[in-house]
Structures are given as structure tokens and as C-alpha cells.
């Protein structure tokens, strides 16, 4: 489903965080959201998964303003995997994944066969079905992210929002996770902090700096040496190698001059 942000602004306690952000994610796209710490990436995501109401502008999903929907209806369309979620107290892997059914269930509804199948299928797709009866808190970082991804899939979303999903993961687990997200085929907007992983995985990139979008488009067009220097403060180039993979190559002296 198509996501469109139009002139989205957020001000928290008098401090502007986002300024007139326009952003499009086409159906089936995997869009990476990049930017230095404090550039407003997480805030932008929060306006999408309906946790922070924009002070200006609209967030449209499939042409509908997500802020005109109820929290429950919005959560049937958008699922989020967030960083720093507290460990759910002793829930099993299956129970965590089953939380994804929350927006589909009213107070008096019980989980039925269909829900169980959807949860099992989500765990299967993320390779966690074999761990279904383990305690979530006993899993490794990479496994936990897979379970949270399974929870998101159990929401049967049309848009997946990921906030630094590879944070704190081993390098192999990072590749595995991004590959997994690719195979899911759900429209995805992801905040990624590892530039090299981002250029490898994403179809398009959006670069935020100081709450404004400073570059966006296909990977090679968005992450130019100028952007890398001005926004991230590093000397580097983004190029497509002979094997067809796009990589970021950092300079011999990677620190760009301040200012």
C-alpha cells in the first residue's frame, strides 16, 4: 500500500523536530531512512505508526489519513518493529508473535484456529517456528528481532515500519535479517544506521538532516559524496561494483572537514 507524507511537521515542547517533510513509499518498495542521530528519523516513523500526531501536514496510507483512523484500524495496516522495546515478561515466542493479532481482535474475541494458523505461518516465514515454545527473553538478539518481525507479520500489514532493526546484532545476523525483510515482500520503510547495509538492501533512500529531507531517490542518486560529506561528515563514495552490488567505500582519511 502506498505511503505518502505531505508537509509533515512535528514540534515537541516548542522545539521543531520535523519541517515540512514530503515522502513517498510506493507499494512493494523498500525505502531506507538515513540521517545522523537526532535528525528526526524515529519521530518521522512515529507519525506513521500513529504514536505521535504531526503538528502539521498529513500522513496518508492508501490515500487515507492514518490520523483519522482509530489506533486499531491503523494497526491492521501498519506494523512496526521498534528498538529498545522492553523484554515482554516471560512471554513465549508464540505469545509474542500472537500479540500481532491484537488489532484484529475485539475485547470479547478469543483466538481461533485462523489466528493460530496466521501466527504459525508468521513464525514459519521468519524461521522461528521451531522455537515457538521457548521464552522470548532467552533468545539471542537476532532471534528476538525475527520474533518481532513475526509479530509484525501476524498483523497482516500492508506497510512495515522498522526502526534500526539491525541495531546490536552480529554482522551475520544483520545480513540475515535484511534478507528476510526482502523476502517478505511487504512495503517497508526502515530506519537504518549502517550506510553500507542500507545501500545494499534498499530500493530507494531518504536522507534526513535537522528534521528536513536533504536527499531522496534511488540509492546512487540519494547518497552522493556531497551528501555523505555534508550530512554524515565522512569522505566516501557510493558505487555499483562489478558484481552488481552497491557499496559504500570510505576514503583513506574518512573524516570530512567540519562545517
Amino acid at each position: 500500500m502506498k505511503l505518502q507524507l505531505r508537509q509533515v511537521s512535528v514540534t515537541i515542547g516548542g522545539t521543531p523536530i520535523l519541517h515540512d517533510v514530503d515522502l513517498d513509499v510506493a507499494p512493494g518498495d523498500f525505502v531506507g531512512l538515513l540521517g545522523p542521530n537526532g535528525s528526526g528519523k524515529s519521530t518521522l516513523l512515529r507519525t506513521v505508526y500513529r504514536s505521535m500526531r504531526p503538528t502539521g501536514g498529513t500522513v496518508l496510507l492508501g490515500g487515507e489519513d492514518v490520523w483519522s483512523l482509530s489506533a486499531r484500524v491503523a494497526a491492521r495496516r501498519t506494523a512496526a518493529v521498534l528498538q529498545n522495546s522492553p523484554t515482554p515478561a516471560g512471554l513465549t515466542v508464540r505469545e509474542v508473535a500472537a500479540l500481532g493479532r491484537t488489532p484484529h481482535k475485539g475485547m470479547f474475541d478469543r483466538e481461533n484456529r485462523e489466528d493460530q494458523d496466521i501466527v504459525a505461518d508468521a513464525l514459519e516465514r521468519t524461521g522461528m517456528l521451531g522455537h515457538a515454545d521457548r521464552i522470548y527473553g532467552s533468545l539471542s538478539g537476532g532471534e528476538r528481532q525475527r520474533v518481532l518481525l513475526a509479530r509484525a507479520l501476524a498483523q497482516q500489514p500492508q506497510l512495515l515500519v522498522l526502526d534500526e532493526p539491525t541495531n546490536h546484532l552480529d554482522i551475520r545476523a544483520r545480513f540475515e535479517l535484511l534478507e528476510l525483510v526482502h523476502t517478505l515482500g511487504v512495503t517497508t520503510l526502515a530506519v537504518l544506521h549502517d550506510l553500507d547495509l542500507a545501500v545494499r538492501s534498499c530500493h530507494r533512500l531518504v536522507v534526513l538532516d535537522g528534521g528536513r529531507i536533504v536527499a531522496s531517490g534511488p540509492v546512487l542518486e540519494a547518497l552522493t559524496p556531497d551528501v555523505l560529506s555534508a550530512v554524515f561528515g565522512v569522505k566516501a563514495v557510493t558505487e555499483r561494483h562489478d558484481d552488481g552490488v552497491v557499496r559504500v567505500t570510505y576514503g583513506a582519511r574518512p573524516l570530512a572537514k567540519a562545517g
Partner: protein
């Protein structure tokens, strides 16, 4: 009072090195079976507790009396026994059961709400507020609070304290769990100092009555008190169980719960209003009973898993059984004297808590 020396606010500890990998032992047991077994245990414990006392009545006769009153049949037992059991003991035992159930339920949801395993039903200042109201009436006479009785004054004090904590616990229009706990502690201190002042002003004769009330007791239970307490405990437990799925989502953090479609702001308000009502009604009829709301939820999670749709109804029954048993001990260890409930709940609760603390992983998983 239990809430004064509360340890500082803590977010759940980081995952321990050796976390439990298997679910709780009774995690897979069907809920209906668990409730059936616990329900039968509760009925048995209630009958035994109603049979034991200075005038012993057999459990069989007790059953006849209770059955007779429920169905209108003639129990055919000694009328004196019938009067003792039905007029004095049964209401007392049922009030203990209701208090145990209600306090356990309030403990479960408040621990989830403020993400703090040390939360108990009195974290919102209910206990301290209720004490001021009750002690004011006991120390200064019924005229002190516009003719309110001890129960009415306790309820009014409890609600006043909650309202204060609720107002102080907000930040930019949202309830902030950490602020809520801090506000609860601060408000409790203020109310407790007022209670102490009132106690110093009163006559030694009143002191004993006040002490007994502060330490919790169901000795004065009457049938007419049970109706309100019963409706509130059963009703609130059922409604909170319906919120079980949302409470499960809440344990994964506010942001995550929001992304799962839970209106977190509204959920917090609903839960606080319901648990304040629950704790306020119970403190009004039975005084401050500590440790039940702290201990029972942890025990139940350890045995039955942490899904709130299971933990809430199971905790209600376990809490009921526990407090009926404690009350039975309180009136049998040193006859004809009776101990206040808090002496034994604390005596059992504190070592349990130390054990729980040393078992680390269960606390960090709470």
C-alpha cells in the same frame, strides 16, 4: 504501613545471563481446568475456615448450613451453630476471600501498568489516604468528617489520595509510569504523617482500635458490606480480564503497544480508575492488608505463565485462597486473641520476596 519504605523506582532489570528457556510449569494447562481446580480448592478452604473457631462446627454441618441458606432448605443442625456460622463466620471468610482476590488482581495490573515488579495495590496512595480517613473518624469521632463512618471516610480518603497521585503523575497530558510511582510515594508520606499526628492526639483506648485497623482485619465483616465489595471485586476482575490482551501488549512498551493498535493513554486511565476503586473499596472494609497484591501475582506468573488473560482470573482465586488461609491462622494461633492480617501476610510475604529477589530471573521477567 507497607507503602512508606518502598524502594526507588526501577525499570525491569536487563536480561540475566541465564534466563529461563522453558515456559512456566503450568503454562500449557487449560485455563478452564485451572479455574475449576482452584475454585474447588477455594470452596473447601472457605468451608474449613468457616467451621473452625472457638465453637467448633464440623465441616459437614457447615456445608449443610451454607447449602441450607443458599437453597432455602432446612439445614437440620444446632441453631446456635447455624447462627455462629452464617452470621459471623461466613461473612468474615467471604470478605477475606474477596480482599485476597481483589488485592491480587490490583497487584497484577499495576505491576504491568508501571512496569515495576515491586508495584502493589497501594502504590497509588490508596492505603495512606484510606488510613487518614479511617483514623480521623476513629480518633476524632464520627463528626470529624461530616458524619461519615470509618468505611466511608476510608474510601473518601483513598479516592482523594488517588486523585492527587493521578494529577501529579501526568506529564504533557500523558500518564507517566515513573512519575506516577514517585507521586504515589510522595503523597503516601504526606498522608502517613497526618495519620501519625492524629494517632498522637488520640486517647490510648482508641490506639488499639486504630492499630488493628491499620494492620488490616476482616473480623468485623457483615453481610451488608459484602454486597458492595463482592460486586466491585467480581466486576473489576472480569472487566480487567477482558483487557488482558491489551495488557499483554502494554508489557512490551508504550510505543510497541501503540503500534499494535492499543490506545495506551486510555488503557492507563481505565486501569487506574478500576484498580483505585477496587483497592479503595477493600481498604474501606478491611483496612491496610499488605503483601498479598505483591506476592500472589509473582507466584501465579511463575507457575502459570504471564498471559494476563490467565494471570488475572487465576490470581483472583489464588489470592482468595491465600487470604482465607491467613485469616484462619490469624484467629487460631493465639486463641482467644486475634492477630491483624498484616502481621502474618508480612511474615510470610517478606521471606518469599527475598527468595524471589535471589532467584533474580523471575524478578527480571516480571
Amino acid at each position: 504501613m507497607t507503602m512508606v519504605s518502598r524502594p526507588a523506582v526501577s525499570r525491569p532489570a536487563p536480561p540475566p545471563r541465564r534466563a529461563a528457556t522453558r515456559p512456566a510449569p503450568l503454562h500449557g494447562a487449560p485455563l478452564s481446568l485451572c479455574l475449576l481446580v482452584l475454585g474447588v480448592v477455594l470452596v473447601v478452604v472457605v468451608l474449613v475456615a468457616a467451621a473452625v473457631g472457638s465453637v467448633p462446627v464440623s465441616v459437614g454441618d457447615t456445608w449443610q448450613i451454607v447449602w441450607g441458606h443458599l437453597t432455602g432448605a432446612d439445614p437440620g443442625v444446632n441453631p446456635a451453630h447455624e447462627q455462629i456460622v452464617w452470621t459471623f463466620r461466613v461473612p468474615r471468610v467471604l470478605l477475606a476471600a474477596l480482599c485476597g482476590a481483589g488485592l491480587a488482581v490490583a497487584g497484577v495490573v499495576l505491576q504491568a501498568l508501571v512496569a515495576n515488579p515491586l508495584a502493589d495495590p497501594f502504590i497509588l496512595g490508596v492505603s495512606a489516604g484510606g488510613s487518614v480517613g479511617a483514623v480521623a473518624v476513629m480518633a476524632l469521632g464520627a463528626g470529624a468528617l461530616g458524619g461519615l463512618g470509618v468505611s466511608g471516610a476510608a474510601f473518601a480518603g483513598a479516592m482523594l489520595a488517588v486523585a492527587l497521585v493521578f494529577a501529579l503523575g501526568q506529564q504533557r497530558g500523558r500518564l507517566n509510569p515513573v512519575r506516577l510511582v514517585l507521586a504515589g510515594v510522595a503523597v503516601s508520606y504526606v498522608f502517613t504523617s497526618v495519620t501519625s499526628l492524629l494517632q498522637l492526639q488520640t486517647s490510648p483506648n482508641n490506639m488499639r482500635q486504630i492499630m488493628f485497623w491499620l494492620l488490616g482485619s476482616v473480623a468485623g465483616a457483615r453481610w451488608d458490606q459484602l454486597q458492595v465489595a463482592g460486586v466491585v471485586v467480581v466486576g473489576v476482575t472480569l472487566v480487567l480480564t477482558l483487557y488482558g490482551r491489551q495488557l499483554n501488549a502494554l508489557v512490551t512498551g508504550d510505543e510497541s503497544a501503540t503500534a499494535l493498535g492499543v490506545d495506551v493513554k486510555r488503557l492507563r486511565v481505565v486501569v487506574i480508575v478500576l484498580t483505585s476503586l477496587l483497592a479503595g473499596v477493600l481498604i474501606a472494609v478491611a483496612g491496610g492488608i499488605g503483601f498479598v497484591g505483591l506476592m500472589v501475582p509473582h507466584l501465579v506468573r511463575m507457575a502459570f505463565g504471564v498471559d494476563h488473560r490467565r494471570v488475572l482470573p487465576i490470581s483472583a482465586l489464588v489470592g482468595a485462597v491465600y487470604l482465607v488461609a491467613v485469616d484462619l491462622l490469624c484467629r487460631t494461633v493465639d486463641p482467644p486473641n486475634e492477630l491483624p492480617l498484616n502481621i502474618l501476610t508480612a511474615l510470610f510475604g517478606a521471606p518469599f520476596f527475598i527468595w524471589l529477589m535471589r532467584r533474580d530471573r523471575s524478578l527480571s521477567h516480571s
